[in-house]
């Protein structure tokens, strides 16, 4: 649109204090418990009192019947800025860009961004069957393969259209497992070979076991504040060079072949003032490897339909030519509900502040984090991305 106002930078704002509460396959604790652990870790690392947090952004599928407002009383917070971001895999990027603007405008000084979900025995099935009105009316009654079946259709269509193979997806999964092996909190750390990937049992053709994330309980969090506030707290933050967000892009595509990143990628790169070659690592939302490949394409690391070629040409471990999902991603780390939408962002903050819990990407200065989420009906609706830079 001509005449659109040029977007303002995020100068002076940082994301800091990356927190991960170690995941568990199943938890008897509530989402509230996991939120509480994450908040406590944020204040412990900064020496703040809980009431010093004057902003809260919450993402959780399992906190019901509460929302962010109930959590303020539950946790004894009294924020002057409050947000609830129920966007699944896009939650991290969306929470970051909203909190950054709030801090920049002075509406809040210290925004705690928290994503947490519990996973009781059988809670995953319950979440799926009531995930959305369209899911209830038009997806769950069809074989109830859940997201595996939805992504099977997307993956199959993508493979047919662009010639990607299971081996291509496998290469990403195997590299992520290698990255996970040094990450202390990853749930799956046994070695994964391409042979084992190929031989895994089918779940919903062409999706096999190692294409799927494992639902689990966990929490991720970070703090958004001004650069000088971070300095006074004695913590190092990362700068936000640019962000994008888009929902329900390309409804005309019969089956999802691309995400909203493709609409906004030029803005993302222009605003950041860097190009794909300047990026030292990429954290994609990896609920299934096909989505990581779409992100490579739609964010501009390769042309549309060329991700298979790209995957064959690159290596994806922390020391590879294209370090990707350096803590193992959700595929090896586990998918802790909405925390899955924070995992890449929290890992990016660690990599850029050279405080990785596992393998450190050498010379990590600029990183890209991408989010994707909400299979409302037949496709993921939410997409977002952020380019972050280490301390100046």
């Amino acid at each position: 649109m001509s005449g659109a106002k040029r977007r303002q930078s995020y100068d002076g704002v940082v994301a800091c204090v990356p927190v991960t509460i170690p995941y568990r396959r199943y938890s008897i604790n509530s989402a509230h418990w996991w939120i509480g652990r994450a908040l406590r870790e944020l204040v412990r690392q900064t020496g703040l009192r809980p009431t010093d947090l004057d902003g809260l952004s919450l993402s959780s599928f399992t906190v019901g019947p509460d929302t962010a407002i109930g959590i303020t009383q539950h946790m004894g917070l009294s924020p002057r800025w409050l947000d609830h971001v129920p966007f699944g895999g896009a939650s991290g990027v969306v929470a970051l860009r909203r909190a950054a603007r709030a801090v920049q405008a002075g509406d809040a000084d210290l925004v705690a961004c928290v994503a947490a979900d519990t996973n009781h025995v059988d809670s995953f099935r319950r979440t799926l069957s009531t995930f959305s009105r369209f899911a209830q009316d038009a997806v769950y009654p069809y074989g109830s393969g859940g997201p595996n079946a939805s992504f099977a259709l997307i993956t199959r269509h993508y493979m047919k259209r662009y010639g990607a193979t299971r081996e291509d997806f496998g290469k990403l999964c195997v590299a992520q497992r290698a990255n996970a092996r040094s990450f202390p909190h990853a749930l799956m750390k046994s070695e994964l070979t391409l042979d084992a990937y190929m031989a895994a049992r089918p779940i919903a053709d062409p999706i096999h076991l190692f294409d799927c994330v494992m639902p689990c309980a966990g929490a991720e969090a970070f703090l958004v504040c001004r650069e000088d506030t971070a300095r006074s707290l004695g913590v190092t933050g990362v700068r936000v060079l640019s962000t994008i967000e888009r929902h329900n892009a390309y409804p005309e595509d019969a089956i999802q072949l691309r995400g909203g990143w493709a609409v906004d990628k030029h803005e993302l790169w222009d605003m950041a003032g860097v190009g794909p070659d300047d990026i030292n690592f990429v954290q994609t939302y990896d609920d299934y490897p096909v989505i990581s490949m779409m992100q490579f394409e739609d964010l501009g690391f390769c042309g549309k339909g060329e991700a298979a070629e790209f995957v064959r040409a690159q290596s994806f471990t922390h020391d590879g030519s294209f370090p990707h999902n350096t803590s193992g991603g959700q595929l090896s780390g586990g998918q802790a509900g909405a925390a899955g939408g924070y995992l890449g962002l929290v890992e990016a903050i660690r990599q850029l502040t050279h405080s990785a819990l596992g393998a450190q990407v050498p010379e990590a200065k600029i990183g890209l984090v991408s989010g994707f989420g909400m299979i409302n009906y037949d496709r993921g609706l939410a997409s977002g991305a952020a380019i972050l830079a280490g301390p100046a």
């Binding site: 995953f124 009654p141 595996n148 259709l153 199959r156 053709d205």
Partner: protein
Amino acid sequence: MTEPLSRPRRKNPLKKTQAPLTPQGVRSRTAHGLTAAAAEGRFELQVCADCAAVIYPPRDACPACLSARLPFKAVDPNGELVAETTVRISTDPYFRERTPWRIGSVKLDCGPVLVAHLHGDTIEGGRVRLALQLDRSGAPVLIAMPARDVPNMAEDVQLREMTCDPKFRRVLITDGRTQVGQAMAKAFSAAGASIVFVGIADAWKPFPGDAALKAIERVEIVPLDITDTESVTELAEQNGGRIDIIVNTAEYTRPGGIVERRGLVVARQEMDVRYFGLMRLAQAFGPALRFRGADGVNSATAFVNLLSVHALMNWPAFGAHSATEAACLSASQAMRAELRPGGVKVVNLFFGPTETEWFQSVPPPKVTPAAIAKATIDALTRGLEDVFVGDVAEDVRERLAANPKALERELAGS
């Protein structure tokens, strides 16, 4: 190619009967527009009254123009199966027992993309025809069928979960003395039912059609008087565990209104045969039907009510009869709710005056017993829930939808 169904083996009495489970049946209020269409075998989706966009999944605002005028209308069911998958691992207990289960994305020629169950004879990239069905929970679902009919089409395992196909099933026809009962026996035998139990009260009393009825293949006469609780209970105790479909053919039709008729004797008799008879059948056979809803190829599957269309609006010339039929219709709605947990359908067939002795003085059009029997088989094979048989029934249904008050006045005058 769909494999023809093979005759189920005799049941091992030591094996546990598989408990019936149902798929998730909760739908939004708007999505029940699909339920209404599926119940009568129509294929309808929302069509925007303002911009003509065809819409799916069901919505409360048009995604093209935000209109709220989104009626369900018949649309072209043809399209392409763009992508398919076979679900091998399911979180849902019903589907877990039925994997592998094929689903796919169908792009309809008229616009929307729909996730649907797949008939075994559909292929990815090929043309398909979508149909709306009621699944075992009674909720509407889409299934992609082959674009053209194929051999043994009704015998597809996924489709059969949504229908009540009589093939290899055992049916009870509750009254074989009626012409409808006899036509029904013939039709079920021809449709491949493995046993056709036909109830006869006071078997020593001869009746027209007696010999022809007994000559029908796989017909087995059983003693049944549906006005006698003991008789109904006894039959249920003996055969209830191997009856998969019940068709209640007991009838009692007498002319006369409410004011004009003297005393309650006839009305009581009507209620005893029709309403209490239905209740006796429901109480004696219902629990076994519901228990056996997932009992293999010949699982319990349907209870069929034959109802006067004047159950929906009283016809004063047969005023007391209409009232009795209305009571039976109301009972059938309760039975639907009670049998649904077993995945057992309650099918209601509505029709006008039949070509039988008690409607002798009524002018045509009238419905023949054979037409009612044919419609019953068709309804079961297609998995329908409400069926209007014949011109009078169709006419009443249309007039009722257009203006119930007008219909009330019009029926009084005819």
